[in-house]
């Protein structure tokens, strides 16, 4: 166990190092320079470009820039090129905005996909199963932004509720229940949209896991000794089918930072995804690189946690 932890920490640190190198290279070797971001601006004199380059070590060779950048990142001194604010602080603020979206979306995903998946596995080939299957293909295939617009039209024309942004503009002097309802309305659509793909994929996965277990010999034994169907399905089958999903708790971690660029820009939600999008538009390299680095850390931590959970949950796995 300890050797496993040690080995994977070393391995993941090496991976992280290469990720940082690769992302740095991608950004800096791409054509165009951040100092040329606005050539038409008359205030952008050559002297300013030079000062800008000095300030952010852009005149140094690439490996020196790399060391400077990650030194700053680990000491928490990285600043955005656009507004000179601390990048970590900026990310933290946006992260707090994205967090409710992520939590509600995850709750939707996990509470919806399990009942649907289990039911379609039990009634395999029946009407419920077939319509759930078709519906999940539909949800996987629909472009997120198109679906978002359909829902916006529907909600706005049906319920006359504004849904853009985190709260209704100029909605300050309302009573507390009104403010809360307003927040919930604004949260519901983007979170639900973020969950659609997840529900479709996860419910299919639950179904196939459940079918796999239902075909095992011990389920036949359970039927043969005359157990009631509920007990066979939920006590014998479901418990074993749930095993792989425990480990998926680790894998949802990266979703924390990824957010959805498209959904957040449609709903003008000031979250992580939109900040990353704005940083890309402004060629704000420190922000792009930091977002990338943090998300790589989350991916690696997520796989690590899921490996550990698997060992804890499944006694058949020995290292």
């Amino acid at each position: 166990m300890i050797s496993f932890v040690g080995r994977s920490v070393v391995q993941k640190t090496i991976t992280l190092f290469f990720v940082s190198v690769v992302s740095f290279l991608i950004i800096h070797l791409a054509p165009g320079k951040p100092s040329q971001v606005d050539p038409l601006n008359p205030k952008f004199t050559p002297e300013m470009v030079e000062r800008f380059q000095k300030e952010f070590h852009l005149d140094k060779p690439l490996y020196v820039q790399y060391i400077y950048f990650y030194q700053d990142l680990f000491t928490g001194k990285t600043v955005s090129w656009k507004d000179n604010q601390s990048v970590l602080k900026k990310i933290w603020e946006r992260f707090l905005n994205s967090l409710p979206l992520f939590i509600v979306g995850t709750i939707f995903t996990w509470t919806l996909s399990f009942p649907v998946g289990i039911r379609s596995a039990i009634f395999r080939g029946r009407l419920f199963d077939r319509s759930a299957t078709f519906l999940s293909y539909l949800l996987i295939s629909i472009p997120g932004f198109f679906f978002a617009y359909i829902l916006i039209i529907f909600v706005v024309t049906r319920f006359h509720v504004p849904v853009i942004g985190m709260e209704t503009f100029g909605f300050v002097n309302a009573s507390l229940p009104h403010v809360i309802m307003d927040r919930i309305w604004h949260l519901l659509l983007p979170a639900g949209l973020g969950a659609t793909g997840g529900v479709a994929v996860l419910s299919r996965y639950v179904r196939s896991q459940m079918l796999e277990v239902e075909g095992q010999d011990y389920i036949r034994t359970a039927w043969a000794k005359g157990l009631p169907p509920e007990q066979v399905h939920y006590k014998h089958a479901l418990r074993n089918a749930l095993l792989p999903f425990v480990t998926m708790f680790g894998l949802i971690l990266p979703g924390l930072i990824g957010g959805s660029v498209i959904i957040e820009s449609i709903f003008s939600w000031p979250g992580m995804g939109r900040m990353a999008y704005e940083a890309i538009l402004a060629r704000d390299y420190p922000v792009i690189l930091t977002v990338n680095f943090v998300s790589a850390v989350l991916v690696l931590a997520g796989t690590f946690i899921s490996d550990l959970l698997y060992i804890v949950v499944d006694p058949r796995i020995r290292l």
């Binding site: 090496i14 991976t15 992280l16 290469f18 990720v19 690769v22 992302s23 991608i26 950004i27 791409a30 054509p31 165009g32 078709f134 293909y137 539909l138 996987i140 295939s141 629909i142 472009p143 997120g144 932004f145 198109f146 617009y149 359909i150 916006i152 039209i153 075909g215 990266p254 930072i257 990824g258 660029v261 498209i262 820009s265 995804g273 990353a276 999008y277 890309i280 538009l281 060629r283 792009i288 977002v291 990338n292 998300s295 790589a296 991916v299 690696l300």
Partner: protein, 331 residues
């Protein structure tokens, strides 16, 4: 048994010839595939889409196309689908070819039907080229890792470890964000989009191919081929690859669907194929400004993308069911 019957019996069964299965592999495949109605529907729509993209390419390109997707008629803007053109306000060469705006016009009075035809080809090529690139890289990397995995590089790290670590590194990047970054930094062009999508989506294929190669390498027929002195190249491409291709095909079909969605998403964010070239993504992206006045500008491309992506997904899942012998027996 009479004599004649015995004669017939002997004619029907000539035991000195090898008893090959009566049906070829393709017939077997088709018999199984035919039972999956959704997959057949997917295949049908896919062929329809392919043909219309091909025809659309011919009808909308060239100097004097049959349907001109770039012709601007400001006096005819935002006409709904199936609207008749106001013939008195149009020059003779501006009159739409079918004497009707089949799918309406957009905010510049361009014929949406012509633009959809032009965009179909873009979606098709982006999907196929991007997936082609990713499948080629995936087969190459996975094949090397699976077949030559034991070889050591400079005595420290095996080829297999090296390739799988590269896969791990690539999987650490949030894919849509990475694609967006690279596409935004590179000059806008359709080829960059295809290449970038291809270069960021080969990891799954690599893993499949490696796993298949690892198990197939130990099979008797490979050992027999080796004993006969068949070259490595021929073993890989003639003996192992045909047996390893099924999961690759499935993931490629589904990959095309997600590549089309990615391209549409990029176009939507304004990083797609540069104008004036129409793609379904940027028709939809332009249409969102008129969502209440001209909903067809949103719904026509949106539903088109939905149907095409859905058909690829259904077809891919059907393929998976047919090519997976485990599921076949159970079903």
């Amino acid at each position: 048994m009479t004599n004649i019957q015995a004669k017939e019996f002997n004619q029907n069964f000539q035991f000195d010839q090898p008893l090959a299965p009566k049906r070829t592999r393709w017939e077997e495949f088709w018999l199984l595939f035919r039972q999956n109605r959704l997959a057949i529907l997917g295949l049908f729509i896919f062929i329809l889409f392919f043909l219309s993209a091909l025809i659309g390419l011919f009808l909308t390109s060239g100097t004097n196309p049959v349907f001109d997707p770039a012709l601007i008629r400001l006096q005819e803007k935002l006409r709904p689908p199936l609207a008749e053109p106001h013939l008195d306000s149009l020059q003779p060469e501006e009159v739409p070819r079918l004497d009707i705006y089949l799918m309406g016009t957009d905010d510049l009075g361009r014929d949406v039907f012509a633009r959809m035809l032009q965009g179909a080809w873009v979606s098709l090529t982006v999907g196929f080229v991007a997936v082609g690139i990713s499948v080629l890289i995936g087969i190459f990397m996975g094949g090397i890792a699976g077949y030559f995995g034991q070889h050591m590089l400079i005595n420290t790290i095996s080829v297999d470890t090296l390739i799988m670590r590269i896969v791990d590194i690539m999987l650490c990047f949030p894919s849509f964000f990475l694609i967006l970054t690279v596409v935004a930094l590179l000059p806008a062009s359709i080829y960059n989009i295809m290449i970038v999508i291809g270069l960021t989506s080969w990891m799954g294929t690599t893993r499949f191919v490696r796993a298949e190669f690892l198990s197939l390498r130990e099979q008797d027929f490979v050992a027999a081929a080796k004993a006969l002195g068949v070259s490595n190249f021929r073993i890989i491409f003639r003996h192992i690859m045909p047996n390893a291709i099924a999961p690759v095909l499935v993931s490629a079909t589904i990959g095309i669907a997600s590549a089309i969605l990615t391209e549409a998403g990029l176009s939507f964010l304004g990083f797609g194929v540069p104008p004036p070239h129409a793609t379904w993504g940027n028709i939809l992206s332009n249409g969102k400004n008129f969502i209440f006045d001209a909903p067809w500008l949103t719904f026509i491309p949106g539903i088109a993308i939905l149907i095409v992506v859905l058909s690829f997904n259904l077809f891919g899942e059907g393929l998976r069911d047919v090519l997976n012998p485990k599921l076949r027996e159970r079903g």
